[in-house]
Amino acid sequence: MALWFPYLATDRLTKRKQPKSALVVAAKEANALRLSAVSPQAETLGLTRGMALADARAMVPEITVAMADEQADVRLLEKIATWCDRFTPFVAIDLPDVLLLDVTGVAHLFGGERGLLDALRNAFKKQKLAVRMALAGTAMAARALARECDGAIAAPGEESAMVATLPIDALLLDPNVTHAFRRAGLKTIGQVASRMRAELVGRFGYEVAATVDRALGRGEKPISPRLPLPDYMAEHRFAEPVTNQDVVSATLQKLAESLAHILEERGEGARALDAAFFRADGAVFRLGIETGRPTRDPKIVERLFREKLSSLADPLDPGFGFDLIRLSVPHAERIHPEAISFDASQQDDDEIGFLIDRLAARFGAARVLSFLANDTHIPEAAAVAAPAQHARESKTAWETVRNAGEAPRRPLRMFERPEPIEAVAEIPDGPPLRFRWRRALHEVTLAEGPERIAMEWWRHQPTMPTRDYFRVEDKSGRRFWLYRAGLYGRETAEPKWFVHGVFA
């Protein structure tokens, strides 16, 4: 299905402020101001798109001129597309002024295809947006029909007959090509199509021939939807907009139940779920949750959404009510049968997985972390804290430089930014005798080191000098991990000292 907004730019301006006289939109093109859009009123006065502004003024002195704002037009089109999401998740934007909707299997919800067209037309009429629409088997056929015969519904197999009678302008080809067809006496799409295909390709290139084919419903070029299509979705439409939070969460659970049935049949579970709340006034709210493992239990889904809803800074504002709630699964994964077991530790893991999902839904996935080993000897990079929901088993094993029976070599708490200290050392490259950190003076009684850690040569950065690490213990038994940045004499004359962590 195609929706063409012939007066998109002027409708946008008229909505804001009714102009006193015929409205035209002008844009600079090849150093001349030309009309890029004209209102219906201006059109009746004989003004057309592409006309020079000076000519238009000469013809009709009393016109209101606005400068073109293509981005505002695109934004409006996107807004309309978002609103159209309530009819089908597959909405594509065909710039500058066409929306393509895949309404396969949707029409019956609105009382048939005619009903769907009427519903859309009424909605746009209320919004004072002029629209031409048509429904056909392929997107290009629908687009061509929308141009020329508004409201057309091409039954399967009828596209080519209907489209063939349309003038070639409906194809939206390059103006030069259209002009060439006209000069050759080919006025309708049917006439163009009746020529030998080889001639067409030879004269105008493959793309033109393919466009003609598509318009006639003989081929389809995939159109890409604005939003990624979910793997599964379920939705509930309300006859009356609902505002009650309980109804909203009950609906979510009901949708989750119907999704669970489909998922179960396919042996799959959701790794992510999106809920979209379509408000009656056109606003759309979207909420997403993720799970650490494929899940389809409606209770879990409902619980996770409850966590998410309660964590929102400003709660879901129903305004005049939601008229559609849609739950979709953007990412489904196979549930492996062996994952279901009665093992006690497996049960623990399941419980912890659910806890992680709940915490992630409430506080954000980036705050619930688990540690992964990293294959490097740079101390601050040896482990990464990754979101626990997405964490897989570490590829690298944990490696320690500590031998059995020895003291820890790495501190339990490490500062993200090593803190500078004032240290006094006996010899420039020896361990410190005493150091001052956070205004407290520490007398070193035991020191062990240096453990020299240089930047790995393949990621050498001149700003990162070699570090000599020392483990030191002060008089009261506190153990610190200090380092001296820079090799004395070679990299720096005055090495700086830092405390990088504290031991248990």
């Binding site: 540690f371 080993a373 040896a382 003291a407 339990l412 038994g477």
Partner: protein
């Protein structure tokens, strides 16, 4: 901020009924005790640390936060056995006292893969997350790290944590930095400082703690030098020339009767 406010309001609203319910709470189910490995401490604790309860760990003075963390994670590892640990901490704490390091855990003999880290912005969300975590019987233990004086950590909160811990048997360790010990319903309270290593050794040996049990709801108090054995993951008495740290610059422990 709006979230915090709403939680606060909710909290205020149900406080009277909550106190009522806390008074009439059912007797706590008894969860097993876990041996720490240090004979003196285990005897004092009548067989070990109680699971499914709230325990508090304080640094004995400023600067002992590393030791207190190590001691708390040691206790948690004893309790959790092979199960997972959840460490809840606030952003400020990492900045001030250092972020929990996986390699550091590894050197204490604790597999970093067993530890989940939850980073939260404030104490309200930390308490809320703890409440959630204590419903998850699969967890071995929860370490809740809260720096600074907190009005929210009152007797009601502490009682609430105790009850939640008892319900599913998940032990919770409250690690408090830069704060005075306040009235609470904790099972035990520990004040931890580092103990000096045996001098003139090639290797310093395992981490040592001067741990004072200043509160014990079901027994006596005491203080010991405890050593964390990274290889066996248990505490023990130091076996190489123990040197008690000079406590000249440290105030004597306040011992509080249970």
């Amino acid at each position: 901020m709006a979230v915090v406010m709403s939680v606060l309001l909710q909290f205020k609203a149900d406080t009277p009924t909550l106190i009522e319910s806390l008074r009439t709470a059912e007797p706590e189910p008894t969860h097993p005790r876990v041996r720490l490995g240090h004979p003196g401490a285990d005897a004092c604790l009548k067989g070990g640390l109680r699971t499914g309860a709230l325990h508090e760990v304080f640094p004995a003075e400023t600067g002992c936060e590393g030791s207190a963390s190590g001691f708390a994670v040691g206790l948690a590892a004893c309790v959790a056995q092979k199960r997972k640990l959840l460490w809840i901490r606030q952003d400020f704490s990492a900045f001030e006292f250092g972020e929990l390091s996986a390699t550091g855990l590894l050197d204490l003999g604790i597999d970093p893969a067993r530890v989940l880290l939850l980073r939260l912005p404030d104490v309200t969300s930390a308490l809320r997350a703890t409440g959630d975590a204590l419903t998850c019987a699969g967890l071995g233990a929860v370490i809740l790290e809260i720096p600074g004086a907190q009005k929210k950590l009152d007797l009601v909160t502490s009682r609430r944590l105790t009850l939640a811990a008892a319900r599913k048997g998940v032990t919770v360790f409250l690690l408090r930095f830069a704060a005075e010990a306040d009235s609470s319903s904790a099972e035990t309270r520990w004040q931890v400082a580092p103990a000096r290593s045996a001098e003139k050794q090639d290797d310093w040996g395992f981490p040592r703690f001067a741990a004072a049990l200043t509160r014990n709801r079901h027994g006596a108090t005491g203080d010991w030098i405890m050593e964390w054995n990274s290889d066996e993951q248990s505490f023990g008495a130091p076996h190489r020339g123990a040197v008690v740290s000079v406590s000249g610059d440290r105030p004597a422990h306040k011992t509080e009767a249970a």
